[in-house]
Amino acid sequence: MKLIKSIIKPFKLEEVRDALNELGVQGMTVSEVRGFGRQKGHTELYRGAEYVVDLLPKIKIEVVVADESVSSVIGAITQAAATGKIGDGKIFVLPVEEAVRIRTGESGDTAL
């Protein structure tokens, strides 16, 4: 099993979720994060002072899948989340040694 951790632009969440659902991925966990990167931040004004905000809002999607699904999942996310502009984000793949479904205690791929 692998954990596929992707950082995407917030407004792409719906499309990525739909793409994953189509692949048969049944679960995922999402959180709000902020990212630094090559993408330039925006300027804010505050009584005459200017600030550059370079921590930008992003969405992190974590989904654990069986080994054989990794490449299709990466493909789906890449396609759904890309706009071609800087800041589209990253996908990282990490090894997962075990997964357990709390409700039933099942483990392994069937727990996903």
Partner: protein
């Protein structure tokens, strides 16, 4: 409200000359534009106490998943009580001369027109000013059973309670009934509004049982700034409540106004001092709570004491309500979620007794001791009458409608979703997680 039997008449005479618009030689009062202006303003201020004042005060104190249910209960009290008040409530409280309750002669405001006066103001203004009291009083109670009552049960409860507890008490104290006959003083509602709601709320809280997790886990306020805004708007609006109860813009209204401010200020200082000594830090929630306690306590007394007297009334409220909330409640173990009993029940009872304790010479009609006994008697009456009738109402309701409480799962999900299918907040700016819905219809 200006106490209309007994004390009020000499005071009216006292100010008749100073009032400028009153003509001593005429038997019938005329409309005073000045008094009317103040009463229109006061009516608006008293509505502001409930929405958004009380709504925010209470709404900030509950958890984020129940805030809408609290706002809704305040809002719907304004809706439901206003309609009932016009249809029958006003008549039951202020028409007729039964000892316990009025009559139905003014149902639907029959017989009242734009030219009908009540003293120096249009009766419509008196009706709507009193209607604002009938909105806030039932809403005060919701703090006691917040985060767990079914919305439908709430609607039935406040409706029946208005008719069987509030209207009779208003009649007995202000409408010429039993308690006014005793000579009890209750200028703006220490008995009618605060004791009645505070003691009834205690019964309701116990009847409904504790919230999930009460005692074992803290149930912290989700937005204290809301609570402070609410307390501030209550403070501001209370000037309409108290000084408006004179039903005129005169020296007694001025006295009621300055006393309201002074007692509240003093209660706040005393409460913070106690917290500082007792807990090591003065808290904002303590300050906000103390302000409301001071406002409650001065309510019955505000036209009968001097500003120096108001300092004592406020100080007493600070001490007693603190004890009720921080010592008594944990000892007895009931879950009065937002301390309606500790603040309104205790504060109202203290205020009603303090009215006699600190009464100013110009307000005292008979003997001081007799007045004190009368006040105690009226406090005792209210402390029995209101919760007793409330208990009967609750038992009958449960027999008819089943449990008044939401199901356990609805409670842990929160009342906003389970009762109203809404969430108060979508997460902060820039976030889109809250927008990640799929549309259904």
């Amino acid at each position: 409200m200006r106490f209309r039997w007994g004390w009020a008449i000499p005071s009216a005479a006292l100010f008749a000359l100073a009032a400028g618009t009153a003509h001593a030689e005429e038997a019938l009062p005329e409309l005073s534009a000045g008094d009317t202006a103040w009463m229109l303003t006061s009516s608006a201020l008293v509505l502001m106490m409930t929405i958004p004042g009380l709504a925010l005060f209470y709404g900030g104190l509950v958890r984020g998943r129940n805030v809408l249910s609290v706002l809704m209960q305040c809002l719907v009290s304004a809706g439901l009580m206003s309609v009932i008040w016009v249809l029958v409530g006003y008549s039951l409280a202020f028409s007729g001369d039964g000892a316990y309750i009025g009559d139905l002669a003014k149902m639907g405001l029959a017989g009242i027109g734009p030219e009908t006066l009540s003293g120096t103001i249009p009766e419509y203004v008196f009706v709507v000013f009193q209607g604002m009291f009938a909105i806030i009083t039932p809403a005060l109670m919701l703090g006691a059973f917040a985060e767990r009552m079914r919305f439908s049960a709430y609607l039935v409860f406040i409706t029946v309670w208005l008719l069987l507890v509030y209207a009779p008490l208003a009649h007995m104290v202000w409408g010429g009934g039993l308690i006014s006959g005793w000579g009890a003083l209750d200028f703006a509602g220490g008995l009618v509004v605060h004791m009645s709601s505070g003691f009834s709320a205690l019964v309701a809280a116990i009847f409904l049982g504790k919230r999930q997790g009460y005692g074992s886990q803290p149930l912290p306020p989700h937005n204290l700034p809301f609570t402070v805004i609410g307390a501030a708007l209550l403070w501001v609006g209370w000037f309409g409540f108290n000084a408006g109860s004179e039903l005129a813009a005169n020296g007694i209204a001025g006295l009621a106004f300055i006393n309201t401010n002074t007692a509240t200020a003093m209660a706040l200082l005393v409460w913070l001092a106690i917290e500082w000594v007792h807990l090591g830090k003065p808290t904002v929630l303590g300050g906000a709570t103390a302000a409301v306690a001071g406002l409650v306590a001065i309510t019955p007394a505000c036209a009968f004491v001097t500003p120096i007297g108001a300092l004592y009334v406020g100080a007493g409220a600070g001490v007693l309500c603190y004890l009720a909330v921080a010592v008594l409640k944990p000892r007895l173990g009931y879950d009065d979620s937002l301390d309606v009993f500790g603040v309104h029940g205790i504060g109202g009872a203290w205020g009603a007794i303090a009215t006699a304790l600190f009464i100013a010479p110009f307000a005292l009609e008979g003997a001081w001791g007799a007045q004190l006994l009368t006040q105690i008697k009226s406090v005792a009456f209210t402390a029995i009458f209101a919760p007793l009738v409330t208990l009967i109402i609750l038992f009958v309701m449960r027999a008819v409608m089943g449990s008044l409480r939401v199901e356990a799962e609805q409670e842990s999900e929160g009342l906003d979703l389970s009762q109203h299918s809404e969430s108060a907040y979508s997460t902060g700016a820039g976030s889109t997680l809250a927008g990640a819905f799929s549309q259904d219809s």
